[in-house]
Point group: C2
Chain length 295, copies 2
């Protein structure tokens, strides 16, 4: 009955507030779960175990999501994946949350100037998700990071830049929440190593991923903030190791910092002109400890 019981100690929190919409929460949790998985979709069994719900309930909720077009099921594989409506909804939401649009010019400038591939990354709970990848012209390119990919906060250049931009206690909370995932799936990103990386990033002024995720695929990153101080996202540049010597790092850090600052200016303008205040409840303000949007 307790959701995600295989992850959370049965009574960790005394189930603070009964939501009054259990099934909706569960359905939206499934949506997030399916989105998390790479694009080919998930089989029912995996969704069942991943969500902690039982099969009939899961299926029923999936049918509701399918009715709304947010989820689709492939006839061949019977796998469930995000639907067309989710895509359309994203376009609609982009009118308010158009970080990509805001960042596109900057990313293009970065990739043109440096010839390397640049990225826009945002935070999503304890994870970082790559929103856009702008190809560089240099013929040897790393494809370690695609739009839509997600890794624990701290894994990867942009991701680490955002982690380092958080206050200390948030850094601890995030690393603790991700500890299991880090140890299991990210060798080379032990919790202590991450803590050291955070320190180094703050001193240096930009983050550095020296090929830890994919060998020879290096990257540097820099976070930018909303006017109210919250971390909004990060810009990063990736290249093969031979194009990431300490000298070139310093060189690349200049346009990177320039574009990150420009992003902050753009955000500030947006918030002032549209009088868009900080939303009452956003993904970022939800409990950080659950580690998932579910429940």
């Amino acid at each position: 009955m307790d959701y995600l019981e295989e992850r959370l100690p049965q009574n960790s929190a005394p189930e603070a507030g009964l939501s009054g919409s259990q099934s909706v929460d569960r359905a939206l949790g499934l949506l997030s779960l399916i989105g998390r998985e790479p694009a080919e979709g998930m089989p029912l069994g995996e969704i069942v175990s991943g969500s902690g719900l039982n099969k009939p309930t899961t299926r029923r909720l999936l049918l509701a999501l399918m009715r709304a077009g947010l989820v689709e099921q492939e006839p061949q594989t019977r796998r469930y994946c995000l639907g067309e409506e989710a895509f359309v909804l994203g376009v609609l939401a982009a009118r308010r949350h158009g970080l990509i649009e805001l960042a596109m010019d900057g990313l293009r400038r970065l990739s043109t100037e440096t010839q390397d591939t640049s990225f826009l990354t945002v935070r999503r709970e304890n994870y970082a998700i790559c929103l856009h990848r702008e190809e560089g012209t240099y013929p040897v390119r790393t494809h370690a990071l695609q739009a839509g990919d997600q890794h624990p906060l701290g894994v990867g250049a942009g991701s680490l830049a955002m982690l380092a931009a958080l206050p200390d206690d948030d850094v601890d909370r995030v690393i603790t929440a991700n500890e299991a995932a880090l140890l299991a799936r990210y060798p080379g990103f032990a919790p202590d190593a991450l803590r050291a990386d955070v320190g180094a990033t703050r001193e240096r002024g930009f983050s550095l991923n020296p090929g830890r995720l994919v060998a020879s695929s290096w990257g540097i990153g820099r976070a930018f903030r909303y006017p109210d101080g919250r971390v909004a996202g990060a810009l990063s540049i990736a290249a093969i190791d031979s194009r990431m010597t300490p000298a070139r790092q310093a060189e690349l850090a200049v346009p990177l910092a320039r574009e990150a600052e420009r992003m902050e200016t753009l955000l500030a303008e947006m918030f002032v002109s549209k009088r868009v205040a900080r939303p009452i409840m956003t993904a970022a303000s939800r409990s950080i400890e659950t580690g998932r949007a579910i429940r």
Copy 2:
């Protein structure tokens, strides 16, 4: 109790299949309703009347959507609008439904070659929604259509191109479903006028909007299909009337047709290589007559 009772005769359909997830359906209906509205968001009262639900239920479902980050509420105005998570979800869904990515090159070519603004539009039930707008270089530009805008199928160049690409009985169903909205909010797009436009479009090979929506803002469009024959979307070009003489229409129709055909080729490749078959249930396969995703 009957959802949307102010629109549907109380017992029009004997409530075909009880879903088994009433609240989820309702919540997702709200999501769609909020997405439909232009970006500043909707006040609670409007959501209540627009959905046909009562206030406590609406509010409770909104809270669930807010917990998931799909909806946000502005503290000042207390209006509800799409949240950051909806935007992120769209990016995730784009890995499968990346029509925009697929179309970007074509749109850039169109805008560069013609100097005018070009658009990607898709169908969403009885409506057409603009997914992307690629600016042209010509100094006088029409801003009649922005990304995220939606109009009844048939209203606007791309929209009309898609309507004309449907089989006759679908055309009738769509126009009938939109009749009230057309008469109320789209003077110049009377149902009969639309039917005539469909015929003209089919004969001509491309659709034409002679400034019907916004005076002097003309456009031509052409639909493209998935390999299985379903309409996938439409490309269109907009310009001021003086740049849309019959001669120039014919001239523009050439690159427009070329790019639409290219889209069909790209889609065919995608479907073959990824073996992505037609989903069991998509937005497009849902009942066409309700006119809304809700219930």
